[in-house]
Symmetry: C2
Subunit: 628 residues, 2 copies
């Protein structure tokens, strides 16, 4: 009997596996997804969603379901230190200060099981399911079937059932202990050799400690503790139980719930604390580590905790996992759709491993920052007010906030993220800070605009759902001034060899009237934004058909923004584009800026875009091809 | 066998019945709720939730579920009029312009069945259910059981089953055709004798009409039409089929779906329109009417369409129904809890009938406004920018916007809404515009503040859920300046005969540690707001215990607001209270301002509050009683 064939076999249904599964299931791939636990996470584990991750979940249409659980929201972090009476608050700072332009300047806290549930429901809604409790017992990229080169052996956890399937890709999201990683022989590299044993407890408390609903770092003569507020009136406490720097270090050292509670009571003095209910308690050893490779053959991939582990204190694990998965998902999608050559898959490791390395560097700095000294109110205020003078402390503080918020994620220039070293160059590419505030490899700046068709005030950065397509934002400046430039761009884009036309649907007879995001191609979605009041924008009359066809994606840049109070067109201004002449911004399917191009009359703008996409697609595009 | 006893029998499970049921079920009442339809509304019917109603639904914790259906949102209305080529757009205006301080400046559109579903789920979550298809066959306030004076006879629609029950109250939310109203002999008064036959069609269309996703009023030589965008890519069209002013008036005149579509095609020329799907189509006659009484005996009440019918064009029916129900719900609750004498029930009719009368007056004016002339852009801009000079048109326009948004609801002074004619007077009562911008009988102005315990940025007006309690907002000004005044207020409130202490829980042994809204009494919930940055507010140290006990309801008035850009304490400023010395605002359980009192040292502030509540509760309170 022939082995069953899948596009992707995913092992592990934690955040990384579920995010990958959700994306690919929606985009129509055939997925085999297994997990070795008999049921999803019920309590505990990871719990913090960064501001940037909340953007991502919203872009995936999952935010509302997350928020329906009424998670706790952390806006500020409080620092408590010892004094003669026990402990006292020495300062607070915003967890996502104003200098970060975040749509949701807070961390969202709820237990991993609730988050997983939202993903699982979405997977099931799209016809997938998680097979439990099953595990992987073997795999080989044997290439026996060139389309499905990987053979994967799976077995029920009780050993009674097993099956062997073939797949285009295998993905391991197994967590820190990974069969796939071990079998591949991929080593874990330790940046910081110090390991810790942590105790973590979720529960409902009663206390007169005033900051119990804040995120707190508490140092006292009796030890240290971290407080994290949670959904359902709960509080999470993290207590370090042992460290490999201890003279009697034992990674199997443990503590009972009662011992941890007693320690918390001692640390919190003069305040009292008691527990009405403990929902979850765990003690686990953890070290910093990073996998040397994320893939060896670009067929078997790994992500999430398989590739990076670190202290839970900065709340980065799950958030990094989300972004690992999304980064890989669209690249697999582009390769399998024929949009991109297989070489794009190499950027998964190069992009995501760099982020994990920064995370580990940051993890060490963050710990040091907190332990070495307490920021003064002036320093924190200075950082928040974006004043020019910055000392080292403020620099580290800012970098920390950017990092913990998720907005610090910056991919280096490569084939996707244009830069001066990019294989193609054109005089119209704009590079920060000349002609644009946007930086390639960074998230698109949020901006509020008015949608023309229905006058709804909307968040531009969220208007295109995560549909696997590139996002083309045509900032049209003043319509009267850019009329010819837009017409020229449309004309050249209509050339059948342009980046836009090359992937147009083959079956043009299909009725796509109600298709608003992808009426022409799954490769790209277009938004047009004019510096004009909404009532003065007439889509059919003012836009070339190429752009007018995306009728629900035409916007008026007419909403005042506190960050650029003097701008007439705030979105243009925030992107650093000329308010009169605009510009074109290409954003990757995962929301990061790919390139920024000047909008001008003639062939130039389309030429630059053709060049940019020619590298991504491995095709000769546009004029270049037409003149061959 | 003894008849079953219920607190309230509710007939009809449309918006008014469901809102009443939801409130009372949550507050612990025993409800019998019947509806004569075999199942809830599946499609069509009412569809517009006003900005003010969305506030209310949020306050009831139901907004997120409504929004999960992804309703359409209307921010602007467009006007189209005939020209030589067919029709052209002559103007647009905001449906809830900036001069209205609305948290959600848009109308939310989805069909009534989805809205009902949210209420039904909530009723069921709290142990209730709707008995279908059952109808009312008789009732009598026979007083045979003084506690349950109303006998109600109910029967299954197929006549096979019947039962007779006793109730404290009977409520009819039966809709325009009401058995209860007929049986009581309550007449419908017609303000405007003109009746109309309307055709209404919900469906998915394809068209090149550019404003198909806007609310539009279209006049053409071929007739008039109203366009309402809807959830699921649908559009609702309203077409007037006949009017009692027609020479051949026939209230039973009808039209087929095809006829209505053809008329729409003619009206929309030169644009084209066709239907992919029709979800709902109905033709119904409707006249303006208002019931002369809402109750005869304050035991049998009526609300919603039973009491008022009018044209569907202004989208007021369901919204008025929500507020009818809420107005009655808390008054029944206060009488049955012993908080208020039965006389408070008389304010249901006096308050709600006035609103219905205004609605009918408005309905006529609104129609006239639209038909008589088109506003110029300057006039609309003038209205929006709140300029001093106002012509009659702008005045009517503003009043219309206030009315359609729901913020025009203003109850007259009476025992609940303090005013100069109120039975009690005290020098510390503040009356608009002297010392406060708040007007009694109007909704509390929205304000954004920071919650002290967790640094969350929150909407003050939403912080107390609709829990049936009065809401006491203590604007504490600058803590150093109001320290004594607050302490004095707390001291006098602690007097066992004060408005605050009189209804304190009898069973004080019950553990109410986790009760944040009603730790002391179900009669009132307290919020304290200081003009101070969050990090400088220490609840235990700075607040008297009375206020500190509401630890999750202490706020920092430290969030900048565009409407009062120069204010240090924006919430204080928006309420028109002194930013240094503050003031006390009492808000009714339904969100309307009851009275505003100056905060000052000594007995005065508590005295004024005792006086205000003495009328509401029918008890002698505070110093007045102590000195008897």
């Amino acid at each position: 009997m022939a082995e069953e064939r899948y596009d992707v076999v995913i092992v592990g249904a934690g955040p990384v596996g579920l995010t990958l599964s959700t994306c690919l299931q929606r985009w129509g791939y055939r997925i085999k997804h297994i997990d070795n636990r008999p049921e999803p996470t019920l309590t505990g584990r990871a719990d913090g969603i960064q501001p940037r991750s909340l953007d991502l979940l919203r872009n995936m249409g999952l935010k509302r379901k997350i928020m329906a659980f009424e998670p706790a929201k952390v806006y500020e972090v409080a620092f408590w230190d010892p004094n003669s009476k026990g402990i006292h608050r020495t300062g607070t700072w915003a967890s996502c200060p104003k200098f970060i332009d975040a749509r949701y300047p807070f961390t969202t806290l709820l237990h991993q099981g609730l988050i997983e549930r939202v993903f699982i429901e979405d997977v099931e809604k799209h016809g997938g399911h998680i097979q439990r409790p099953w595990t992987i017992t073997g795999f080989e990229n044997d290439g026996k079937d060139p389309s499905y080169p990987v053979e994967v052996s799976l077995a029920h956890m009780d050993g009674t059932l097993s099956e062997t399937v073939r797949a285009r890709y295998l993905f391991s999201g197994e967590g820190a202990r990974s069969f796939v990683r071990d079998r591949l022989g991929v080593k874990i590299h330790h940046k910081d050799p110090i390991a810790h044993v942590w105790g973590v407890m979720d529960g409902v408390v009663r206390t007169n400690f005033p900051d119990i609903k804040m995120k707190c770092t508490i140092h006292s003569d009796a030890g240290s503790i971290m407080v994290i507020p949670r959904e359902d009136n709960m509080v999470r406490l993290y207590i370090q139980i042992a460290s490999s720097t201890d003279s009697d270090w034992n990674p199997r050292k443990t503590a009972t719930a009662e011992e941890v509670q007693q320690r918390a009571k001692n640390i919190l003095k003069p305040y009292s604390i008691s527990w009405d209910r403990v929902e979850w308690f765990s003690v686990y050893p953890i070290g910093q580590g990073i996998a040397e490779r994320y893939t060896l053959d670009e067929r078997v991939f790994m992500g999430g905790d398989v590739c990076h582990t670190h202290s839970p204190k900065a709340g980065q694990g799950m958030n990094t996992a989300f972004l690992d998965a999304v980064n890989l998902a669209w690249k697999i999608h582009h390769v399998e759709s024929g949009f991109a050559p297989r070489s794009i898959l190499s950027t998964y490791e190069s992009e995501r491993k760099l982020i994990a390395e920064s995370l580990l560097d940051f993890d060490a700095k963050y710990a040091k920052l907190f332990s070495s000294r307490i920021p003064s109110a002036g320093e924190v205020a200075g950082a928040a007010s974006n004043e020019p003078e910055e000392n080292d402390f403020i620099k580290t503080f800012k970098a920390s906030c950017e990092f913990t918020s998720g907005y610090g994620v910056a991919y280096n220039p490569n084939t996707i993220n244009w830069g001066p070293e990019h294989p193609v160059q054109h005089r119209l590419f704009l590079q920060y800070p000349e002609g644009t505030n946007l930086r390639t490899g960074r998230i698109l700046t949020p901006a509020t605009v008015t949608r023309v068709v229905d006058a709804n005030v909307v968040h531009l950065e969220q208007q295109i759902p995560m549909n696997g397509a590139y996002r083309m934002y045509v900032f049209g400046g003043e319509p009267a001034k850019t009329k010819t430039a837009l017409q020229d761009l449309a004309t050249h884009m209509s050339n059948r060899t342009s980046f836009y036309s090359i992937f147009s649907y083959l079956d043009k007879s299909l009725d796509r009237y109600h298709e608003l995001n992808n009426p022409h191609t799954n490769f790209i979605t277009i938004c047009t934004i004019f510096n004009s009041p909404r009532s003065k924008i007439f889509i059919q009359e003012m836009l070339p058909e190429v752009f007018a066809r995306y009728r629900d994606h035409v916007y008026a840049d007419d909403v005042w923004d506190q960050r650029v109070p003097d701008a007439k067109a705030a979105a243009h201004a925030k992107m650093g584009l000329d308010e009169e002449t605009g510009g074109v911004v290409i954003v990757r399917p995962d929301g990061y800026v790919g390139c920024v191009v000047k909008l001008e009359q003639g062939t130039g703008t389309c030429e630059a875009l053709d060049k940019y996409f020619s590298v991504l697609t491995g095709k000769r595009l546009g004029e270049e091809r037409a003149t061959l």
